[in-house]
Symmetry: C2
Subunit: 426 residues, 2 copies
């Protein structure tokens, strides 16, 4: 008998019909002999709607009130899911973050989990209930409601899984697992049966949206096995765990891409000591996450400094540079938002030299221009023109032997097809 | 410096614009030198929508989960109102039922308040905050969330007013106060400057929808002064308190009417001992609130028993009678839902005989047929045909000297008119 946590995101609980499906799924997992704890996000776009209401009233809503407001979204879905389970003859009990014992620090809107006290959940399990926990929220030791920020519900699920000593934390979403590349642009992408925490972290950081990096970090630290799987079928998905079962790691596990970054070039910067430090300290102070930094000599005594950052940080980057550029006597700022980053990820890369050389020659053969490069021991990231990102991913995917025999077919399944798939998979 | 509670209903907080108006109003009350505590309902139709979602998932949602679900509605509006106040440069802090110390029994969905601990609210007031309390919700001594049922937010406001020792509990709504009759059908109705608890209770019980009876009962028991007033203008409304300032009470304070009741007739009931007891015990056991009961002899040894009850209870009444009628060997059941109840209310009635005789003759002159009558020491209720209710109210209003000189004009005020009225009234 396994003890499992099943986490369902906002899309999976966006309507009464979908909540019914989640209830069915939980009961099926229970009937298979498991002890089950559910973790849920807010319904569909609820959180965005609440943020919109708040901003209509106050451009800078007080953080404490914002957290109290947003936490209601998960409180609605947890109660509705508990009701749906009860309607099917099983006992369920909902838990707010407070009741689930998810303690956090007091950093409103992006609180960090400091402790998990799972006695009440264990007690409910022992009494035969299916506990349903509100994701995304916690409580400070003073009793103030907090929210965990982006990826919060996945993190709640992993934290609760750790707290109760679950055998696995199943994270359900609208994709069947982690793929070797985004199948929407690389149709020969393969679903991975397993992936190590380290590779998954690099994939998430490089733009693979299946799992939130923060939840994977928590899972790695506390050795929680994540099972990323489809909310709509019963197929086995991808296990994320410490080490995979393979004798030797593949050189490349997967290829991630990210079109949301922009490249910023500061032109004609006097090449003096401390200039780069001035620029990047100011950017960091203004919460701009700079990624790849490149310095080119443009003419004697001057240099161009360029960096990439998330598109969402561009406003803050401009604001910072408008202040800094006159100060360092540079000539101005150019922004290129038509770029994309392609990343090859693989723990096996460490022991396989020549990955970069091979990647560059593959791209060169296809006339794909390389705009910037950065590396980690298990990742190689290349910035290319946005128009060439799909071709770059596909050609690298083929060249590094990742192609599947079957071509991925994306389609919207009908309710009947989902039902058929689920009964087949069970 | 007065200490006041200001309660705003769902209509007053149904949009960001309206929440802004509520914030302005609270700040104005504060600028006038008052210490202010706000109590809010859920936005607009939120509660109904949540009930709809719950019923889509479970026809009999578990009461504990239902209360947890519904309590989120007021949590949203309390946070939004606190944000709106902060946006205007005043400090605000929201309080759930738990945090406001509203303790209740464990009767989910219609919990009764057992205790109010207002230390945290007083503390926030002392620190210069405008506390914003979620209406309609409380907490059991075990820490379970409860809701108070119909009229819950008004009751929260009165309970909080009592808890903090407020000088008045201002209940804002879309009408300017308590009228001597419903001005929509009696255009010469007058707004009352004041009304006693007892008269207000009878008015509320007889169908006047301005204040919830339960809140008035609480106010009477703990001597909390209620000020019923408009959310859209600054006019003084109606004070509800122990005794009015008049030397002698008017004979009739007001005329209420209620078109939501139905009349049920059980035909040809054998006139045996205990039959009425059987019928009305069964109805009471099935939660049917019977009001006026009339027994007519129809022929020797048989009788017709009729009663009125709220239209909402009719389903349960039919269900009960389908079971009881064969058992008592009656002939069947007839329902008349085209009726209305007109009630004359006045503490002065006690010392003024002849009110009933006068009312009957007024109605008789106008050929309004009297279908049933019931009385209390300070109320006379008459059931008439639904088509004649407006005429009955108007003619009694005139006959008992209640008519105002001015004719009430109902109109939707534009935003500009409201602003003009508010600045004029201030």
């Amino acid at each position: 008998m396994s003890l499992i946590v099943c986490k369902f995101g906002g899309t999976s609980v966006s309507s009464p019909e979908r909540i019914q499906n989640v209830a069915k799924r939980l009961i099926a997992r229970r009937q298979e002999g498991n002890r089950v704890v559910a973790v849920v996000s807010a319904m569909g776009k609820t959180t965005d709607e609440l943020v919109g209401l708040a901003r209509a009233l106050n451009p800078n809503p007080p953080a404490r009130e914002m957290d109290r407001l947003l936490s209601t979204g998960e409180q609605v879905s947890m109660s509705l899911l508990a009701m749906a389970i009860e309607a099917r003859g099983y006992r369920a009990m909902s838990f707010t973050g407070r009741q689930a014992g998810v303690f956090t620090d007091a950093t409103h809107s992006k609180a960090k989990i400091t402790q998990v006290s799972s006695e009440r959940i264990m007690d409910a399990l022992d009494r035969g209930f299916i506990p349903v926990v509100a994701g995304f929220q916690g409580i400070t030791p003073d009793g103030d409601i907090t929210t965990l920020g982006r990826g919060g519900s996945d993190t709640t699920a992993v934290a609760v899984a750790w707290g109760i000593g679950a055998d696995a934390c199943e994270i359900y979403s609208d994709v069947p697992g982690v793929y070797s590349a985004d199948p929407r642009i690389a149709p020969r992408a393969r679903k991975l049966d397993q992936i190590s925490y380290d590779d998954m972290l690099e994939m998430s950081a490089a733009g693979s949206g299946v799992l939130q990096m923060r939840a994977v970090e928590f899972a790695k630290k506390y050795r929680v096995v994540i099972h990323s799987r489809s909310a709509f079928t019963n197929e086995v998905g991808t296990y994320v765990k410490e080490a995979t079962d393979m004798m030797e790691e593949a050189v490349i596990t997967g290829i991630a891409h990210d079109s949301s970054e922009v490249k910023v070039i500061i032109r004609h910067v006097p090449d003096a000591v401390g200039v780069a430090a001035t620029v990047f300290s100011a950017l960091a102070a203004n919460m701009v996450n700079t990624d790849m930094i490149i310095q080119n000599i443009s003419e004697a005594g001057f240099t161009d400094i360029s960096f990439t950052c998330p598109g969402a940080d561009l406003g803050r980057a401009r604001e910072t540079l408008d202040r800094i550029v006159p100060q360092i006597k540079a000539k101005g700022v150019v922004v290129d938002d038509d770029i994309a980053k392609v990343s090859l990820v693989g723990t096996g890369m460490k022991s396989s030299p020549g990955v970069a050389a091979r990647a560059f020659s593959v791209l060169g053969e296809r006339n794909i221009n390389i705009l910037a490069i950065s590396t980690s021991p298990i990742r190689l990231s290349i910035v290319v023109d946005a128009s060439q990102v799909a071709e770059a991913v596909r050609s690298l995917h083929t060249a590094f032997g990742l192609d599947a025999d079957e071509v991925f077919e994306e389609k919207q399944l009908s309710a009947e097809e989902i039902a058929a798939k689920m009964s087949k998979g069970r």
